[in-house]
Subunit: 169 residues, 2 copies
């Protein structure tokens, strides 16, 4: 038997580790993009949002009297996940990178939806509100990617048909 | 330099391997779920859809004169990805399983959006139409999960607070 509050604390720690991973992944992506300036700018904006999201999660956990340290195991699992995904990014890097970002955004979206439901069940309205707010930001990023991925794909294909070096990034 | 048609063929093969992986993952999930009958039924429905999607992709590739065999590398990468994800499913299995399904649906959605854009760029209207159609089915599954995950989460937390064995699956 596990108490709802314990489970909610655990999921908040998971979300915090997920944002750590998101920051690393977005950072690496933004640094590598050269020829897709709009995409690079939107990713950079989302890096700032991600840092602020981490802080807001920390504030929730502090208020709940729980800590976010010691998440090395989960972070390592996420890294393995991303390393496995990374193996698929050869050649058509910017397209596969956008695909990974879009997918990861939805991992974040569903995590926050679960947290909202869990915080409501545990009667923690403030944590529910913060997770709802972060979820909206993740949805905005996902929706931006959804709108722009077709044009990134077509720009990539055009460039690849003429000059594969510039197309990739 | 890579021809658009070659790249489209490669992405269609990737999508086919992805559906293979989806079928395995959904199958394993449906078999393990015991106490969430609605979720189990929706997953089972989506297994049939997934099989039909594979066949529709095969028909597109046949028409394009390309084959979908020899995808062992990508399939292996996907398995590594899922194995890494699987490490996170201890304890709160039904919640993490739903999270994985929702995330994987969005990997599928973005893949088909990319394929639609690529097929349009390559002037293959039939492949664009089929990928659009499959995308709608993936979106319907994702939307069902999105609507039901809060209640699965809360049912799980209630059960876990009283009887952890039944809650998990």
């Amino acid at each position: 038997m596990t108490d709802m509050n314990d489970r909610l604390n655990q999921w908040l720690r998971d979300a915090h580790a997920m944002e750590e991973q998101a920051e690393q992944m977005l950072d690496a992506q933004a640094r590598r993009i050269e020829n897709y300036p709009e995409l690079k700018a939107r990713i950079e904006q989302h890096i700032s949002e991600t840092r602020s999201q981490k802080q807001r999660l920390e504030a929730c956990m502090e208020k709940r009297g729980t800590s976010w340290s010691g998440m090395k195991d989960l972070a390592a699992q996420f890294s393995a996940l991303m390393q496995a995904a990374g193996g698929m990014f050869a050649g058509d890097e910017v397209v596969k990178g956008s695909m990974a970002s879009y997918t990861f955004e939805h991992l974040e979206i569903v995590s926050y939806r679960i947290l909202v439901a869990a915080a409501e069940a545990a009667g923690d309205a403030e944590t529910a509100r913060v997770c709802e707010e972060i979820c909206r930001e993740e949805e905005a990023m996902a929706s931006w990617l959804q709108d722009h991925i077709p044009q990134v794909t077509q720009a990539y294909l055009m460039r690849e048909a003429t000059d594969s070096g510039a197309a990739k990034r």
